[in-house]
Structures are given as structure tokens and as C-alpha cells.
Amino acid sequence: MSIAEDSRLAAATPSPSLSRKRERNLGDAEAQRRREQIVKWSSRLGSLVVLLALWEVFGRHVNKAVFAPPSRVVAAGIEMVQSGELWKYLQGSLLTLVYGLAISIAIGLPVGILMARSKVAGYALEWYIAAFNSTPMVALIPLITLVFGFDLTAKVIVVVISSLFAIIINTEQGVRNVDARLLEVAQAFRSSERALWGDVILPSALPYIAAGMRLAVGRALVGMVVAEFFTAVSGVGYLIVRYSNSFEPDHLLVPIVVVMALGIALTAITTTTERRVAPWNRQKDD
């Protein structure tokens, strides 16, 4: 039978994907996946151990008033968690972050799509997008606090301005970069405009949008901390400033580590979500 011959041909290519070969190799694949997991986690944890060890060794040789080794940071962290101090300030930060990112996504996706779709919108907005995207947010914060005060609103606005443009720019790129050949396929099969968006344009833009989200998360974190430096007595940014002023580097480093951990966690969440909604992209990562 001709099909059997072809599947043998296909199995000889570098990505063995056809049924019989696949089943036979399932055990091997499982073992390999486990091996990869071991490599992944031992590399991650190994590098962490080395880093902490170096930090500990050097940290102990520096003046206690300006730097602290991990052992003291952990002790300070435990103290701040137990007293409820860390959570009290972190809560405010997380609220700012969630509001800011939600607003950025809610505005960024439609605006990005609009700019890609309408020439007028693209031309009308491109200067401002470029200007805001490249201006350091710090430059705008004094003005924002002047207008909106020092409360949540002002901080959310800083987070939005920090993260919005990454989403707009990536969404626009994604929608623009749709494979022209697939657009022609849709046309040949008599697709309506609406179906075209659902079948072709949005799914093909999805990886770009996800990349925009990853960028936006990083920038939102920066915006959040910087906004808290300048505004009211709240958030992990405030904790950083306060412990810096009181020369307590062990306490100062706790919120910094928390923000870093937050960055790792949020990036992991966006990556996982991306794989969930766009499983066809796995071929590039796996």
C-alpha cells in the first residue's frame, strides 16, 4: 500500500512523527524528556547555589551598613514576613501592577490591531507610539504626580505608560506580518472578513502578542517600582527607599529579591499561557 511506503519515508526525516515509529519510540521519548527535565532543573538550581555562595563569601567582607550576605537577607526576610510588613507593602504593589497591566492589555490589543488595519490610524499614531516607547518613564513621573497626586491612580498610570507601548507595537507587527500566502488561501476559499480574522490573522499574530506581553510585564515591574519611589508611602518601592535611608541593606534587599522573583514568575506565566493557547508554536521551543 502506497501510504505505508510514504510513512516510512517520512519517518526517515529528522522529525519522526508518524504513528508506528512514534509508538515504538514512546518509551525512549519519555526517558529523554525526563533527562531533559533533570538537566534543566539541575542547571537552574546549580547556578543558584553557586551565585548564593559567591554572594555569601563576598557579602561577609563588606561593611554591614552598606551590603548584606544572603544569610542576613533571609533572616531579615523572615522577620519582615512574620511582622506582616512585607505583605502590607507588597499588596499595594501587586494591585498597581495588576490594574496597570490589565489596562495596558485592554487598550494595547485593540489599538495595535487598529494601527495595523487602518492606514489612517497607523499614520496618526505612529509618532506618539515611538515617542512614548523611547522616552524614559522617570522623565514623566513628576508631571504625573503633579496632575494625579500620589495615590494609586498615579502609580497605575506610570505602569500603563511603561507597558502599553510594547503591547501596541508587537500586536501591530503581528497583525502586519501575516503570511500573505495564507491570506490568499483564505481568499481562494471565499472567506468572509470576519472569518479571516478568526482563522488567519489573530492566530498568526498570537506569538507576537505573547512576546509583547513578556516585554510589557518586565517594563510594568520597572514602572511599578519607580512610581513607588516617587509617590506615596506604599509599595515595595517605598520599602527599598526607606531601608536604604536607614542603612539596613539586609532589609533593603528583601523587596528587591521579591521583585525579581515576581519577574520570573510573571514571565513563566506568560510563557505557559502562550504554549496553552498556541500549541503549534512548541516546535520552535521543544
Partner: protein, 254 residues
């Protein structure tokens, strides 16, 4: 399907893809179009599909001018044109979905074709998990599922290796055996044109014109093996190559 004195130019007439093209494909027959690279074969097919309008002249389907893609026509692409984010099931049912066929009927309509090309069992895979041959089989099923009168094939097997290509030619012949279609098949391969075609149009280098229209003169109901072992095959092959060779040389020099 007919083409009447059709010309298509690009860049405001600076590039002439094909000129004064006259073709007639009777219902249920296969016209293969061979020609050197850049002779406007693919542009011609796009005009037949209603994706491009000829600059002058007409394309007719059942006596009606083709101005937009017709529901009676389905196309198969050299690049397969599968959606990477759709499973095989959703890819092959794409035309049905756009036609508004209820989801419950997709499997039933698609199954016979999936079986015919041996894609059964692959329905929930994504295109990247399939070999090129299997991907193009899905492209073929997607077109056939619409039960079109006319199949437009844009070098559909051009991106496949030689063996897979022959298998797909055989499968296509078997499919046409079961349901006669009018087919226009663009190819680079003289062999493929003789194996599949009832008629072969040999095009000249750009601007493309029909240099010769050849009746293959073998029964429509055939196998690839029958064709390749017949004396007519060798004769046609030599003849077409003699026609094509100066065109290919000219196209390469242009």
C-alpha cells in the same frame, strides 16, 4: 472552463505575465500547463481562480465570467497553504466551515477523502507533525471536501521529493477515477503533465503564450504505470522537451 484572449500585465504594463491566452478545458478533463520559470503559469492560475483579474480578455466558467473565487472551484497550493494553528481535522474542514456546513457534518463529509489518501488517524495532529506528503494530502482533502467541479492545482507536488510525488500522482488519478473533475494542473515536470493530463499546454518564456496544445491521447482512466510504460509516453516526453528546451534557455537568459 475557458480563457479567451486573456492578457495579464504587472507594473502598469511594464511586465507582461502572459499574453493573448486562449484555453479551453472541457468538463471532466485535465489540462496540464508546463512552461519555463516565470512564464506566467501561476499568474494564469490565479486568474482562473478569480484571485486576479486579467488585464484584458476573459475567464469563463460554465459560460459565466469569473470575477471572484467561485464556490464551484477549489485550489491546491504548492506551499500546501495549511494553517499551522489548525489541526488536520480543522484544516481539511476549512472550506466546509466557511460554506456554513454545520460542524456535526464535517467528519462525515471529509472521512471518505481522508481514507482515500491515508490520512485517517492523523486528524488531531498539527501540520508541523506531518511529512510534506501528508501535508499536501491534507491540502488535497481540503479542496475535495467542497465537491468542486473544478480543481486548480498550482504545482501542488512541486515541493515534494520524487517518490512521494509519484505516490500522490497515483492517488490523484485514483481520486479522479472515482469522481471526474475538471482540472487545471500547473507543473514544471513533463513527466507529471503526461501522467495526469488529457491535454498539455506548453507555454513560451515570458510573455507567456500557448506554444503548443498537445492531445495526450491516452485513456482518461489510467494508472501512472500504464502511462509511463506506453510508447506514447516516451514520444511525448521527447517532443515536449524539444518544444520547451529553447524556452527554458530563453527564460534563463532573460
Amino acid at each position: 472552463m475557458r480563457v479567451e484572449r486573456a492578457t495579464r500585465t504587472f507594473s502598469a504594463g511594464a511586465v507582461v505575465a502572459f499574453q493573448d491566452m486562449d484555453l479551453d478545458v472541457p468538463a471532466g478533463r485535465t489540462l496540464c500547463i508546463v512552461g519555463p520559470s516565470g512564464c506566467g503559469k501561476t499568474t494564469l492560475l490565479r486568474c482562473l481562480a478569480g484571485l486576479l483579474a486579467p488585464t484584458s480578455g476573459r475567464v469563463l466558467l460554465d459560460g459565466q465570467a469569473v470575477v471572484e473565487p467561485s464556490p464551484a472551484v477549489a485550489m491546491v497550493f504548492q506551499h500546501f497553504g495549511l494553517f499551522p494553528w489548525k489541526t488536520v481535522r480543522d484544516n481539511v474542514a476549512y472550506g466546509l466551515k466557511l460554506k456554513g456546513v454545520p460542524k456535526g457534518q464535517w467528519d462525515e463529509l471529509v472521512r471518505p477523502y481522508l481514507e482515500l489518501v491515508g490520512l485517517t488517524g492523523f486528524e488531531s495532529m498539527y501540520p508541523y507533525q506531518l511529512s510534506g506528503g501528508m501535508q499536501q494530502r491534507a491540502g488535497l482533502v481540503r479542496a475535495l471536501a467542497l465537491s468542486p467541479e473544478v480543481l486548480l492545482m498550482d504545482e501542488p507536488f512541486g515541493a515534494l521529493d520524487a517518490q512521494t510525488r509519484e505516490l500522490l500522482q497515483e492517488e490523484l488519478l485514483r481520486i479522479l477515477e472515482r469522481e471526474r473533475k475538471t482540472m487545471v494542473f500547473i507543473t514544471h515536470s513533463i513527466d507529471e503533465a503526461i501522467v495526469l493530463g488529457d491535454q498539455i499546454a506548453v507555454l513560451s518564456a515570458r510573455p507567456g503564450r500557448v506554444r503548443e496544445l498537445i492531445e495526450v491521447g491516452l485513456p482518461s482512466s489510467r494508472t501512472a504505470e500504464d502511462v509511463r510504460s506506453s510508447p506514447r509516453y516516451a514520444e511525448l516526453r521527447q517532443h515536449i522537451w524539444d518544444q520547451l528546451r529553447p524556452q527554458v534557455v530563453a527564460a534563463a537568459a532573460a
